[in-house]
Amino acid sequence: MQNAAINAITLAFRDEWPRLVATLVRELRDLEMAEDVVQEAFVEASTRWRKDGVPDRPGGWLLTTARRKAIDRIRRNKRFDDRLPALAEAAKVEPQPEMLIDDQMALLFGCCHPALGIDAQVALTLRSVGGLSTAQIAHAFFVPEPTMAKRLVRAKSKIRAAGIPFTIPPRDRLADRLEAVCGVIYAVFTEGHVSSHGRTLLRGDLCDEAVWLAETLAELTPDDPEVRGLAALCLLTDSRRNARVDGNGQPVLLADQDRQRWDRDKIDRGLAHLISAPARPSRNSNDRNGPYRQQAMIAAVHSSAATFAATDWAAIVSIYDQMISAGGNPVVELNRAAAIAERDGAAAGLDLLEELDARGDLDHYLYLHSAKAELHRRLGNRRAAASAYENALVVCDNDAERTWLLGRLATVST
């Protein structure tokens, strides 16, 4: 009974937290109160379910309990008096599935409102939609817990004072706002995938959270190709998690990864998102071939190759060409040069990298220097390789990558 109750609470927390917060944000029009009462409902569940058994519909029990807590609070604090009639009315209606989807979308749009700073958007999304604790978010971003707590309090104060709405934006703004939501989820993913400051290269928990958010968003807006592309990109990239670092926490290049260790389930789910994107997007959704989808297509080419040598480099180069003609950036050009090096040989790739280096846009970008170093190394230019590794080390702030670069430098310095 005890274990059953604990399992039920863990499960309900994962499944019901965002729905409960979303429903209550609509009813209470206050994010902080919504989160607080949902939290209290879970605390009550942890004692009651153990004693009385798990209710038939845990979600319904939690919602009723959270609403009761909200009514108690409002009675104590007159500031929210005007919310009582609406809440009493809402309590009579069982939320319908469509309403739940709309409420969750509204919660995501509110947390990812561009009137908030990106750090605040990320923290709020993880807290309110993901149900992570302040301590967990602080830990994930390597900031002290009081700093993260302050960030969340400030964000919620701004939401209240500035009147940031928790609503689904009108059609003419939907695509822009959806892009902002995708940006937040992608920021969570990249922070988890390559932690920019710190000792480890991979922090799976943030990647799990981003994959879950991206798949949830894809469930909510199944017709947006960019949302599908984002979900595919996160899944396909994350499928390589176990192969990307070795036993000592050192990064393993794509060429050297043991492809047996790639997660087939994630690859299949990622490919399914790419295939299921509609042939023609609805008028107000994002482009069919937006940047997330294009990056996901590149990841899909890698996922489909049995070995590094068998990779369809021509296909990858042509996707980069599309990205550049759609208004690329120096990082896309760098990646294209690396693909050209595989398709046409190291010398051809190196020519493009030298051109890019001369422009100076990527002086502080680690991967320009490391890519140059790798190609020089392949061509046997030991001295040029060493100097490029040294340049990479100057701009490197990740311990795992630093160790790796020092190891590579040693191989060309003797």
């Binding site: 500031r79 409102h113 009137a115 004072a161 500035a162 009147g163 940031i164 709405p165 609503t167 934006p169």
Partner: protein, 119 residues
């Protein structure tokens, strides 16, 4: 909710006086203000004379100190404001995005502080 829309722009930007462009922009301002009023969102608003006409006042140790100039010498100066009453920030953003000077200036949206005894 009530908001102040604070209109900042480079005073040299925008159309010059006595040009057809200025006449067109003035029409734009009038129709925008009328639209705000028709929507029931307008509480007030004014355009300000340029910062060359500004006077600063401070009182320190009981002494009134008066000086020429705006409070802050910035490239983009406060040139006017609207006070509006709309349901939420998104509605305020929609109105801000339609302000004639927003194409060359910046509109800062500031919520009006609500005091507990006001509500």
């Amino acid at each position: 909710m009530k908001y102040a829309l604070l209109l900042y722009s480079d005073q040299a930007a925008g159309p010059a006086w006595d040009t057809p462009e200025m006449a067109a922009e003035m029409q734009h301002w009038f129709s925008y203000t009328a639209e705000l009023a028709e929507a029931g969102a307008m509480l007030g608003g004014e355009a300000l004379d340029p910062t060359e006409t500004a006077t600063n006042v401070q009182v320190r140790n009981g002494k009134t100190i008066t000086a020429d100039g705006p409070f802050a010498e910035t490239k983009e100066a406060l040139g006017g404001f609207y006070l509006i009453d709309v349901p939420d920030l998104d509605a305020a953003i929609d109105w801000a995005a339609k302000i004639p000077s927003v194409g060359y200036g910046t509109v800062e949206i500031r919520p009006i502080m609500e005091f507990p005894d006001q509500t």
